[in-house]
């Protein structure tokens, strides 16, 4: 069957990049980034996740629908996050007693 096969060296390269990024993540966590530590570390993690998805999991060769599935999962998670946090963070905003 005609299916693309990646080069072994390519996989090794991606793995090395992931290892370096993990080390970077850990290293940066030790430095005071004035409130941006969480954002930076999650950003690095997000890039690692994308690299894994695109190269190890072959998303770059997958049908658009398959990629949409991955995106949909993240979108739905953010719906749960948004709704729950809306309640948590807005308690006391409106002048309704007790809420």
């Amino acid at each position: 069957m005609s299916e693309r096969v990646a080069s072994g060296g390519g996989y090794v390269a991606v793995a090395v990049v992931l290892l370096v990024m993990t080390a970077l993540n850990i290293g940066l966590a030790m430095i005071d980034l004035r409130g941006f530590n969480s954002v930076v570390s999650l950003l690095i993690a997000a890039v690692e996740v994308v690299l894994m998805a695109v190269y190890f999991m072959h998303l770059r060769w997958s049908a658009p629908m398959t990629r949409l599935v991955g995106l949909a999962a993240l979108l739905w998670l953010s719906i749960l996050m948004a709704g729950t946090l809306d309640d948590l963070l807005t308690r006391g905003w409106l002048p309704v007693p007790g809420k």
Binding site: M65, T84, R91, K99
Partner: protein
């Protein structure tokens, strides 16, 4: 002219092989549909039995038959069994499993072995739940609110939680199978906008099944861990938040009600088109509304928490979104009505049920809007008003839709016609019994009778008696199909491939279908419901 050519009766999926192993190890979606049919019918009568006893208890205002502890266990088990072991799997796992590949023109679903696994998972989950029932029952309500369920309840909460966690995987596998099948196994020529609306509904349902159920899974897992380890996220003593449980629980459980109703809507679309002999009015709109309901349904869960202590801001947002989600449902109701308009209508049993669906679902849906209104919700939350609302949707809507589908596709599944007379009688009995049971509950709730209470002020007794009377009629209505449908297997008229003269690929093969569904892969060349063209070509 000395020999007579006798017609060779081709083997169907039923008699292609015999023996219990060939059924229990089947990967044929049609046989799996039958396995599910047997299981969920059993669970329906278990849940119905609990309801019957509850209604008997509610005949008198002061707890004549049982104590409060027992009553708590009854409504809990009624809810758990009905929601997870009947309502959610009914149309998808019975009718969906059977009909979806046929409608697609496919030989089976994408993953037949996963399909069989999903049934075994269902049975395992049901076994855990029934065990909890026998082991003394659970008294937390089907909603398992913390901290009562984690700390104070002394019943078999963990067992039931495990049972529901397990059956969730059955849902997920079914939804996964449908999504992949609808994407990849459509017959040549069957483009997305030529799909019958039942498939659009099943697709939308499957999106919810796949994305919502895992959140229930993790919520129940945390509940069980918290109950066993006596520490967790929902424990106020630790600084935990019971509202977090409610947010996570309802994130699943609200979309779950759309899992229940969307397949029913799909059935109604099919039945109305067939028995009005017209294409569904606004086909594209109805298809898009199915998906819209699935998506919007994920945005409204907070309306179950209006009086639980969420912020006024969140309550407002969820209230507005809850109004929005009613719109696609309303559009569908108008489209069905427009389909009926100037159609050539035959009031067959499936259509009677479909008409019942439209009326009762609309009533239930409208009362949902009352509940979405914050001010009214404060008054009627946790009263029988809510109970009446969701029973109008679930029983008046979903179960009625299930009955419509069961009767509509019965000839395809069994090759037999049931008694039309008895079908109509049962449909009317169900309609009358249903309204007599649940309409008084709207009034009771508005007047202030709380739900989950079996002791109530004597002023409420008359309406409760009406409700129980209605329930007894409803029970007869549900037992009748059991009898005449079973009887049809022996003495029903042979159905033939297309007894309703309907469109759709499932009617292009024999009744019952052969094991591989079609002798050769069908080709689709036109839109669904092309009744007008068929009439013109005669």
């Amino acid at each position: 002219m000395s020999t007579l050519a006798l017609p060779v009766r081709r083997r169907t999926y039923i008699d292609v092989n015999y023996g219990i192993r060939s059924w229990l190890l089947t990967t044929d979606h049609k046989r799996i549909g039958i396995l599910y049919l047997l299981s969920i019918t059993l669970m329906f009568f278990v849940g119905g039995g609990a309801a019957t006893i509850m209604r008997l208890e509610l005949l008198s205002p002061s707890g004549a038959l049982m104590d409060s502890e027992t009553y708590n266990k009854l409504f809990t088990m009624h809810g758990v069994v009905m929601v997870w072991f009947f309502l959610i799997p009914s149309i998808p796992s019975v009718l969906g499993n059977f009909i979806v590949p046929l409608m697609l023109g496919a030989r089976d679903l994408a993953f037949p072995r996963l399909n069989l696994l999903s049934w075994y998972i269902y049975v395992l989950g049901a076994a855990f739940t029934l065990w909890a029932l026998i082991d003394g029952g659970v008294d937390t309500g089907w909603t398992f609110y913390t901290p009562f369920s984690t700390s104070a309840s002394t019943t078999s909460v963990v067992t039931v939680a495990i049972g529901i966690f397990i059956v969730g995987f059955s849902s997920i596998l079914t939804g996964l199978n449908f999504i992949v099948s609808i994407h990849h196994l459509r017959a040549p020529g069957l483009t997305w906008f030529r799909l019958p609306l039942f498939l659009w509904s099943m697709y939308a349902t499957s999106i919810i099944l796949v994305l919502a159920t895992p959140v229930l899974g993790i919520t129940l897992l945390l509940l069980a861990v918290e109950r066993i380890a006596r520490v967790g996220f929902f424990d106020p003593a630790l600084g935990g938040d019971p509202l977090l449980f409610q947010n996570m629980f309802w994130f699943y459980s609200h979309p779950a009600v759309y899992i229940m109703i969307l397949p029913g809507m799909g059935v109604v679309s099919e039945v109305i088109a067939t028995f009005a002999r017209k294409p569904v009015f606004g086909y594209t709109m109805v298809a898009m509304c199915s998906v819209a309901i699935a998506v919007l349904g994920f945005l409204v869960w907070g309306h179950h928490l209006f009086v639980a202590g969420i912020s006024a801001h969140a309550a407002l947002v969820f209230s507005i979104l809850s109004y929005l989600v009613a719109i696609p449902s309303a559009i569908k109701v108008f489209n069905w009505t427009a389909t009926l308009h100037r159609g050539a209508i035959t009031l067959n049993t499936p259509l009677l049920y479909a008409l019942g669906f439209i009326g009762l679902f609309t009533m239930g849906g409208l009362t949902g809007l009352y509940l979405a209104s914050l001010g009214i919700d404060v008054q009627v939350h946790d009263t029988f008003f809510v109970v009446a609302h969701f029973h109008y949707i679930m029983v008046g809507g979903m179960v009625t839709g299930y009955m419509a589908g069961l009767h509509y596709w019965w000839p395809k599944i069994t090759g037999r016609m049931y008694s039309e007379m008895w079908g109509r009688i049962a449909a009317m009995i169900i309609f009358i019994g249903f309204n007599l049971t649940f309409f008084p509950q709207y009034i009771l709730g508005y007047m202030g009778m709380p739900r989950r209470y079996h002791i109530y002020p004597p002023d409420f007794q008359m309406l409760n008696v009406f409700s129980t009377a209605g329930a007894s009629i409803l029970a007869i209505g549900y037992v009748l199909p059991l009898i005449y449908l079973l009887a049809s297997l022996r003495s029903g008229k042979v159905a033939g491939p297309n007894p309703w003269d309907a469109t759709g690929l499932e009617w292009q093969t024999s009744s019952p279908p052969p094991k591989h569904n079609f002798q050769e892969t069908p080709m689709v060349t036109g839109p669904p419901y092309d009744y007008e063209r068929r009439v013109a070509s005669r």
